[in-house]
Amino acid sequence: MGLKMIVMVKQVPDTHNITGEAMKADGTVNRARLPAIINPEDLNALEEAIRIKERIGGHITAITMGPQKAVQVLKECLYRGADDVILISDRKFAGADTLATAYTLKFAVDKIGSFDLILCGRQAIDGDTAQVGPQVAEKLGINQITSLLEVVEIDEEEITAKHAITDGYELVKSKMPLLLTVTSEANEPRSPSAKLVMAYKNIDQEVNGDSYEEAYMQADDSSLIDRITEWNADSIGVDSTICGLQGSPTKVKKIENVVLAVNDIQQIPATEAGITDLMHELMDDHII
């Protein structure tokens, strides 16, 4: 039997590897030019789910809320061993803050039905808020363990785990159902399995010989398509007043690119005289 697990993933701009390409002349970042990737700690969440499945058996459903192109991150999940994946996509979801996102995910989880464990990355690198996981847990009325470092023991009823606290860690125990937010320290995510990539490719071509995205948009009877489900606001039954921009209490007032303010810098010559003067000045001012 094993555990029924849901892994929540997000497609994010790769803010950690900002190359010259994405840098504008004024030294600010052109966000539109950043490559879209699966959020790094979501891969840790998926990896943890796969390890749990390897340990005690189970079933892994990966879900993402996002635009159509976010199906790419679901593919990444299939290639690593997710059993099926769900794209939750609707214009109505645009502009969602963490609360509206959590609502939408809650309705999707309700539609999936029963589960034992929900896993997600501790935080996403575009916002670094770490809010959606705990908010989904609250909406579902279940317990949470945040900043997971290690699953020490797990069976179908209960988990014992280490999670990070500011100055160390705690060993805690909780019954299922439960939501875990997973840190990068928990594990080393595996790479996509060549076997799975090939398997999905072959199925894909059998279906209609077309590109993956189009196949996923059209047919409905291959095993690949069986594994990718798409839901929208109506199919999960989420009211438009609680999702997307409308359901978001927080608004962005202003976004400023961080540009370095140039200080009135005092250049100190790297000579004995220059450095001695500086040090003595600091001493006279009782700074050192």
């Binding site: 803010t15 670094d128 809010q131 060993l171 927080t250 250049q267 100190i268 790297a270």
Partner: protein
């Protein structure tokens, strides 16, 4: 509900000790409350900490709503979130602040979800100001500033129609005022409405690492960067720190390389510092590092690359090789000391 507007701070405690960030937040709440003609109140959970809570008055906290329950001695998500939710429902504060610690970041989203209110994570600056939206003017909106996109942008977030508006705030960022021991807070003990079923997590063991260094209170910091990664140069930087009585800090590459423990790391994923003097040795000044030290009173940058971004925020710049510059600094100090 109080007839006066309230700015509320969640008081973090661990083993009966009040978290430093909670004191910082009380001071910041005081600055916000002034503009709103509101008062600063605290919400605290725990057992046997009444005296510690009264002392929050030194920092300007007027009243502390204190849920005293032995089962709340140690933090766990659900009972903490639930208790704070009931206090907020009762008191209806305008604003609620939490430290962006593991505790604050664990419970605040649960609370925001239960109250369906806005929450902004990891703020580095808070203000009261105007916000206009669709012809509507909010005069005293709570403006919450936070870095996003890996620190490449600063976003100002508002939640004008949300009651309350909530934010988590980075530790070490808000200025601590001088305590005034003549003031104490009124501690109001509140009934706990928790049942045993609310305690969903069992804490088996808590393992705390002793901090090897506490940078957040250091007045003089000498920080080593990747330019000081080789043993000789790092030894020189260390010697400079010892000579002038500074704490030794580092940028992330040195910590990642295992040369210094994480307690030494300054920056976005390390400690935020605001010393009197910060000497950056062989640090390029990437945004994630600057985020943790830009508020330093005086910054001396030593770098062989004249175009290093660190020079743009430094007050004194020395373009040169650490191995040549630092011995001169040590000699100059010793000559006069």
């Amino acid at each position: 509900m109080s007839d006066k507007k309230q700015v509320m701070v969640f008081i973090e405690q661990s083993e009966k000790k009040i978290g430093a960030v909670s004191l910082e937040l009380i001071c910041e709440a005081g600055r916000l409350a002034k503009k709103l003609s509101a008062e600063v109140v605290g919400v605290a959970l725990g057992y046997g900490i009444g005296e510690e809570l009264a002392a929050l008055g030194h920092y300007g906290c007027k009243t502390v709503y204190y849920v005293e329950d032995e089962r709340l001695s140690h933090f766990t998500s659900n009972p903490y979130a639930k208790s704070v939710v009931s206090i907020i429902r009762k008191q209806q504060p305008e604003i609620v602040l939490f430290g962006a610690t593991t505790t604050g970041r664990d419970m605040a989203p649960r609370i925001a979800s239960a109250l369906k209110c806005g929450l902004t994570a990891d703020c580095t600056e808070l203000q009261i100001g105007e916000y206009k939206s669709k012809g509507e003017l909010f005069e005293n909106a709570f403006l919450q500033m936070r870095p996003a996109f890996g620190g490449n942008i600063m976003a100002t977030i508002v939640s004008p129609e949300s009651f309350p508006s909530m934010a988590t705030v980075r530790p070490g960022v808000m200025q601590l005022d001088t305590p005034d021991a003549s003031r104490t807070a009124e501690v109001l003990v509140e009934e706990s409405d928790l049942s045993d079923e609310d305690f969903l997590t069992e804490v088996i063991e808590v393992v705390r690492r002793e901090k090897t260094v506490n940078l957040s209170v250091a007045q003089i910091i000498v920080a080593a960067g990747a330019g000081a990664a080789d043993p000789e140069t790092l030894a020189l930087v260390r010697k400079l720190a010892v000579t002038i009585g500074a704490e030794l800090a580092a940028s992330r590459p040195l910590v990642d390389a295992g040369l210094l423990s994480h307690d030494h790391q300054v920056g976005q994923t390390g400690t935020t510092v605001r010393p009197n003097l910060y000497i950056a040795c062989g640090i390029s000044g990437q945004i994630q590092h600057r985020a943790g030290m830009v508020e330093s009173q005086r910054i001396i940058a030593i770098n062989s690359d004249p175009d290093a971004p660190i020079f743009r925020i430094a007050h004194y710049g020395i373009v040169g090789d650490l191995n040549a510059v630092i011995p001169k600094m040590i000699a100059a100090y010793k000559e006069k000391a």
